[in-house]
Symmetry: C2
Subunit: 232 residues, 2 copies
Amino acid sequence: MFKPIKNKKVYEHVIEQIQNMIIDGVLKQGDRLPSERELASQLNVSRTSIREALRSLQIIGLIESRQGEGNFIKENIDETLFEPLSIMFMFNKDKPEDILDLRIAIEVQAAYLAAKRVTEEDKKELENILKKLNKVEKEGNEKIRAKYDKEFHYKIAKITGNYFIINLLNNISSLMESFIIYAREMILKAVDDKSLLIYQHEKIYNAIITNDSEKAASYMREHLELINTHLM
Amino acid sequence: MFKPIKNKKVYEHVIEQIQNMIIDGVLKQGDRLPSERELASQLNVSRTSIREALRSLQIIGLIESRQGEGNFIKENIDETLFEPLSIMFMFNKDKPEDILDLRIAIEVQAAYLAAKRVTEEDKKELENILKKLNKVEKEGNEKIRAKYDKEFHYKIAKITGNYFIINLLNNISSLMESFIIYAREMILKAVDDKSLLIYQHEKIYNAIITNDSEKAASYMREHLELINTHLM
DNA sequence: TTCTTCTATAGGTTATACTAATATAGCATT
DNA sequence: AATGCTATATTAGTATAACCTATAGAAGAA
């Protein structure tokens, strides 16, 4: 008979409004929001509520607060996922290897899609990275080796053009580095037969440039499984 | 050469302390935090700062605020990723199909791992779901069909025991449902040859119960690619 | 016992005052 | 003309106090 009154929290309303303004294109990346006081008066709520909303938007990576300047829609939202993934990792600390399996999921699909979508320009870039990688593979410097290795995998993700894949891979890498320090270097040291790694990279590369998506995926899986077994 | 001076915001300190208490095991899932006023006095900061910290922790899904009761460490953090993924989706609205490729990434790996880790009990459960699915496939009700279809895929993710995979799949499903309403029903309607779907599900099932991870992965990919093409 | 009401305490919201960082403009020195 | 300084306005960051609202549990009434 009697209808219940509204319930939603004020700060939730504020979050919603700002999100909508972004969806509708009123606010774009890099734009500055009205000042907290102005927002408060425009929405007719207290500045505290505005701030709680802004704080939330900041944590999920949507805006950036700069004291003395204002609140801005983030240009680069590549780290959006990092915090939540870290949280999941925290509660999952018994099984850190799970993150490695997630990485395989992403990278295998990345290789598959890359083989389908690779352009001529991509092929050249990928070839360059591979050449550099093979060159330093014979020298001693682990760090440089790790750098190009990372670049190779990252480039493949880039070729897919899939924002989620690029982003997830980035975040997984960050997470791995935070928790398993120097993971990559350790892995590379653990693998005795360096030429095996070179060979695997080349197989992946060849599959991608010949648009053989199935093979690209399975070679990538083979490559990452090898690395995983050495990590355990 | 010159190092920047410290700056950290007060609420960031608060967040850090609470996170550390969780990592160190002082606070466990379901535990109640001290009241806001008590936290404020214990940490010697204002309640405003405490609240901004708590609000942030709430948004990333770490705690839950219940008015009149208190703030609690979340029991079930399955929705942790949803918000950030939505944000990414917002900025990526030109290419909604990217989420489908991410889904393939997750599910292909899920099938691969499931084939390796499946137990006898899992096999029975999966078989039951498959039987129900085949049964309703011939009847008309799309909704029930969609329900069991979803259950089949979810069970495979569950078998992996990988928290990230289960969680990501959940979130991707939510996201798909939010943005592509009734996606699953639409897909099922679009695929003329129902028996093809049955056949694909059975191939995946057989690969998993015979521990053939390679085949499980490739059949799963085939299955999802078919669905994707019908969605575009 | 069962139901209602009261009460203490929790989070939710507002208002106000102050602190700290930043950009800008204007002025002075060189 | 370039640099350095200072005052000022504007912004976010923090603190405090008061009050609103939801909840659980105690107290009381039936």
